[in-house]
Symmetry: C2
Subunit: 268 residues, 2 copies
């Protein structure tokens, strides 16, 4: 129910600016258009880029950016703007995120020590998964997940693990449209997705073999609240050859049950 129209404005790395459809009317809208101009592919921008990507007039951009710098939401070093530390501080106060991370990290550490693969924690937002925390070692596997990043839920382990425990109706409405898929392995057929989710619900873990990224596999398990609703999911991710899904499943499931238990006891 939240940020349904927000996904549209997600700053993807398209070079040519598509003259942002509906120029925002309110100052806040404009300010967030500025912030939204940044993205994984554009972690820092000059004033002119900022104006072009946000669709705002140059002088407006200049003034707003200046103000955002004063407020700490942007930082500027030799002509480049990038998101500032104040945003980071504020973001950490997000209640759900702070609680989740605090509860989950010890279990993520356990999983890491046991597997030495990448351990991810993500939550569902609309039909997408947002990565909240990720721990990894030195082997810089080309796993595309990134804290604060988003992926379509139906083609990631983290997403499927949570979708499977959503009320059926809610899930259906999320995937009414056609499923584009990310890789040749992604599920793009609604019927097959439904059967897959039934299987996940039955087993308590979701698997992903090259559905998110070629060569990458993962095993994920949901963290459920008292009412059985998913609040997050944990996953172990790595190169296909290094992920033995059958062997990892119990560990991931145990860890996510542990997180759920801690959350039940700490959050009222």
């Amino acid at each position: 129910m939240v940020t349904t129209d927000m996904t549209l404005s997600e700053g993807f790395g398209d070079a040519g600016d598509p003259a942002a459809a509906a120029p925002p009317v309110s100052v806040l809208g404009r300010a967030f258009a500025l912030l939204g101009a940044f993205g994984p592919a554009a972690p820092r921008l000059t004033l002119t880029d900022l104006a072009a990507r946000s669709g705002l007039a140059l002088s407006t951009t200049h003034r707003l950016a200046g103000e955002l710098v004063r407020l700490g939401a942007l930082e500027r070093s030799d002509g480049w703007y990038c998101p500032g530390m104040r945003l980071f501080e504020l973001a950490q106060l997000s209640r759900p995120i702070a609680y989740l991370r605090q509860a989950a990290l010890p279990f993520m550490e356990d999983l890491y020590e046991a597997t030495h693969q990448i351990i991810n924690l993500g939550v569902l937002d609309g039909g997408e998964v947002v990565y909240i925390e990720r721990i990894s070692g030195h082997q810089a596997a080309d796993v595309p997940s990134r804290i604060g990043g988003r992926f379509p839920a139906y083609c990631t382990g983290l997403g499927k693990a949570q979708l499977a425990f959503l009320p059926r109706a809610r899930c259906e409405e999320l995937f009414a449209g056609p499923l584009a898929g990310r890789t040749p392995g992604s599920i793009t057929d609604a019927g097959r997705l439904r059967r897959e989710l039934d299987l996940v619900a039955e087993r308590g873990v979701a698997c992903d073999r090259e559905e998110t990224e070629p060569g990458i596999a993962c095993v994920a398990a949901p963290v459920l609240d008292r009412r059985g609703q998913p609040v997050a999911a944990l996953s172990v991710t790595g190169a296909v050859g290094r992920i033995n899904q059958a062997a990892l499943a119990p560990a991931v499931r145990t860890a996510s049950l542990g997180v759920a238990r801690v959350l039940r006891h700490s959050v009222p």
Copy 2:
């Protein structure tokens, strides 16, 4: 040089609102006053609290908060507002933070596996340390650090490790005023701080025995850039009895050198 006046508005948990000194003039200022109303002690607020703590008129608060919700910067569930996920997403695009975390995490994992104590990563912002990442296990030691949290630099290991490598002049100007201290063990004498920092610069590690929090000790080492300037610091933190500073120092120092090496090779 950044956010010098920002520290004033840090939302501490004082119950009675001190009728925020200078009401912000710009819409953005007002919006950030709203966001700044949240704090560790107030992770969620009602509309009325929000208005009181930010010093804005109720109807203004209502409208702005509504807009921030639409933008994803705030979330609302049954009457409570809290910082939203969109902020979190934007914050992760902060170039310095993302690079730092990516470079540092593997080494932090190594330190964790070796010590099973709390591992912190922090950067200097003015005279304060901001915690960027923290990993910990199940023993919920009462260590006060929190991702996104701030402490005065001169009474934390992370802070001293970085201060010691700042140009002397810069350091002096940061601590021109009197040092309040956090605990009986904190350094509050400018002369003693200077000698301590000399020692840190010589050894390459900073120690903290109950200077931040009674019963807590840590060992920290700076991550220096090409020019020898500190960009961050790593620390191992835990209960005094469990931290053998002499034994940990080489490990922490090695890890921070590792991070510096990775950063040198990845960031231009």
